[in-house]
Amino acid sequence: MSSKTFATVLAAALGLTVLAACGTDSGDTAVDGKTVVKVSLEPGQDKSAVDAFTARVTQFEQANPGIDLAVQEFKWDPTKFTAQLAGGTLPDVLTVPFTDGRGLIERHQIADISADVAQLPYAGKFNPEVAKTGQDAQGKQEAIPIAAYTQALHYNRTLFKQAGLDPDKPPSTWDEVRAAAKQIAERTGAAGYAQMTKDNTGGWILVTQDYAFGGRTEKLDGDKATATVDTPQLRQVLQNLRAMRWDDNSMGANFLYDWNGINQDFAAGRIGMYVSGGGNYKDLLAQNAIKPADYGVTAVPLTGPDAGALGGGTLAVVNVKASKKTQAAAVKWIDFYYLRKLTDQAAAQADAKTNADAKQAVGSPELPVFDKATYDERLRWIGQYVNVPLSQMTPYTSRMFGRPLLPEPTRATQKVYGVLDTVVQKVLTDRDADVNALLADAQAQVQALLDRP
């Protein structure tokens, strides 16, 4: 073979290799006749958390020999979801916050698994308020609620002690929050109270506070939605924040926190108090290695007659692009991993033991996904494995039931949160920020969002 011919053949082979590589299909339907389901594991967890998850995967595969689970690291990020869906890189089972459930269902961006869900033995026992977050307009359960919570005020007990405050008597009014924040900042140098402000979390927390003062951000009348952002309640929230930031200087020096950032600084002992989901302890432990002795949590103070606690939670959903067979197998995994531990004694104890052995949090406070009786029964089942500092959570757990539970805004939720991010950032970074003007502007922007078809 002449060198020229050889070169030509080589180039052709290379070209074909590139073509072949680009055309290769990942083939996720079956291996050895098994149905492959890509299940999600939240990234950034420590080794023992991953071990606990892997153990559950093995247990499932042993119980379901026809299904092969492929673990994929995945964390819900609304900014990437559509691109991931279009690009085919989503796992088959993923978890999403209540916030986005309704939008995903309306846009048919997740699989309709209602027929498979209806087959589950406990399908009729879901807490109706919680179940609604995963239903379409006709009441079909397309997404499965797996966890629910109310927002809580997390606090650092060690900083409380250093500041001369009693960690067993955390603040129960917003005035007390302000006073405690001031005392912590003055005596320890840490931020007395900090707040998320970035990537739509600012809006999420601001709405929590608005609800806590008796406000709402939208008023629904049939299909018509009216923005109710420019209200005395939200004004009061912002004035309170402004006073803490500029008069008391008790909010530290970082005003661009997102969820991860504030968790990191809280676990590192740089923040006295902050508002976030009530079940946050397990994340703080798994991802930020918080010292259990530091941790305390109490209910968000409520002020005024219409005040309520913002609720939230997690839905398990199935990739709309998965085949029917994969969807059915995915529901089996959701049942096994997320739900049966809430309804079945053996499963609850197996899950709790696996997590406790891997030194993961067992027993973090949550709201019942099913009825209260099922919830209480589960707590009894797993009692011997509970390893979270329960007594330090009593200020929250003793008050989390029986408070008005309010859902997140339903229309254009993430975009409304985005508008409110700017408001809270402005108040915390500009001493001369005009709260009235900010609210009037936000009101117009939110109304424009609600008016969009």
């Binding site: 020229k4 070169a7 030509t8 180039a11 052709a12 290379l14 070209g15 590139v18 073509l19 680009c22 609304p78 900014t79 990437k80 979801f81 559509t82 691109a83 869906l85 279009a86 986005d100 939008g103 995903l104 846009r107 048919h108 961006q109 140098g189 402000t197 970035k198 990537d199 739509n200 530290g252 020096a253 970082n254 005003f255 661009l256 997102d258 254009a412 993430q414 975009k415 985005g418 991010d421 700017t422 950032q425 402005k426 915390l428 970074t429 500009d430």
Partner: protein, 321 residues
């Protein structure tokens, strides 16, 4: 006397005659003569480049005239996306912020590498060490660099920079936490991160300056400033113009720093054009506005192309001299 006979009108012109004599170029003959090999060698590169560069560019341009959620079939909406972008109040905020970043980067980031290169070229010993030190920030992954600087920029009195400034009675400076200082903070980090590459380019260009010119300038009584002004800068003119336009194009497309440092905050003080494009597409992907994102991308690309063409045309005479 002999005279050359005038060419007959019927005769074909000489080149045409040659063509007629030459054997016809058939694809087979072209392939046998080795024409296929370069094409085959090019194919993988063309395929990859086409698939990953030109196809997305073309599709983006098309998408700027569509409304799509990437899942259901797109719908053509004419110039609606361009209208949406140009009437969005955030558009002018982003343009202003990007302009501010580019201006500050020009004031801070443009002269710093030049000054460093000139100083380093004057150093007799250890030039390699200084070059390595100048280039070191470039080899640090950008995300790592930003996370590092986030710690430096801690706005509390115990933050690294504030601690240092505190020694001379300045601060604490809010750095990223105030609309008035955030953009400057981004520019300082961006300059630190990018200066190394430009320093190396300038150092290479400086080696082409004949040393006897400096000797002549010294004999004429020129100091360092005089030598730089009358010898160095005129010789670097071509390189300076190139780095200038690259800097403008680069800074106009700034994304990493505002995205990672501030997310565009506080209160949109660092929302740049690219961050706005990102926000259009991804800030709420449940209803992501990919049409507006691509429309703004096309506008930015067009503006930069026109700017580059005009700039090169205006400065053609400078750079070639």
């Amino acid at each position: 006397m002999t005279t050359a006979a005038p060419p007959r009108l019927a005769d074909p012109p000489a080149p045409a005659r040659e063509r007629a004599c030459r054997p016809r170029r058939t694809p087979l003959r072209w392939a046998r003569r080795g024409g296929l090999a370069p094409v085959l060698f090019l194919l993988p590169a063309l395929f990859v480049f086409g698939l990953f560069a030109w196809l997305p560019i073309g599709k983006s341009a098309l998408m700027s005239f569509q409304r799509t959620n990437l899942v259901t079939a797109p719908e053509f909406v004419g110039l609606d996306n361009y209208r949406t972008v140009l009437t969005d109040p955030m558009f002018w905020t982003a343009v202003g912020n990007t302009g501010l970043f580019a201006l500050l980067a020009l004031l801070i980031g443009y002269p710093v590498p030049l000054a460093l290169a000139v100083l380093m070229s004057e150093v007799r010993k250890g030039r390699g060490l200084f070059s390595a030190l100048a280039y070191l920030p470039v080899v640090i992954p950008p995300v790592v660099a930003v996370l590092l600087w986030k710690v430096f920029y801690d706005a509390g009195p115990d933050g690294l920079f504030n601690k240092i400034l505190g020694l001379v009675g300045i601060g604490p400076v809010p750095w990223l936490q105030s609309a008035s200082t955030a953009m400057g903070s981004l520019v300082i980090e961006a300059t630190w991160a990018a200066a190394g590459s430009t320093v190396i380019i300038y150092l290479a260009a400086l080696t082409s300056v004949p040393p006897e010119l400096y000797e002549a300038a010294e004999l004429d009584g020129a100091g360092i400033r005089g030598k730089v002004w009358h010898v160095t800068l005129p010789h670097l003119r071509g390189v300076l113009l190139t780095t200038f336009i690259l800097q403008i194009i680069g800074t106009t497309q700034v994304f990493l720093e505002p995205f990672l440092f501030t997310g565009g905050g506080p209160a949109h003080a660092t929302t740049t054009i690219l961050l706005l494009i990102y926000n259009y597409a991804f800030a709420d992907s449940l209803g992501g506005d990919y049409g507006a994102a691509t429309a703004l991308s096309v506008l930015l690309a067009g503006t930069l192309a026109v700017f580059s063409a005009v700039f090169l045309r205006l400065t053609r005479s400078w750079s070639s001299s």
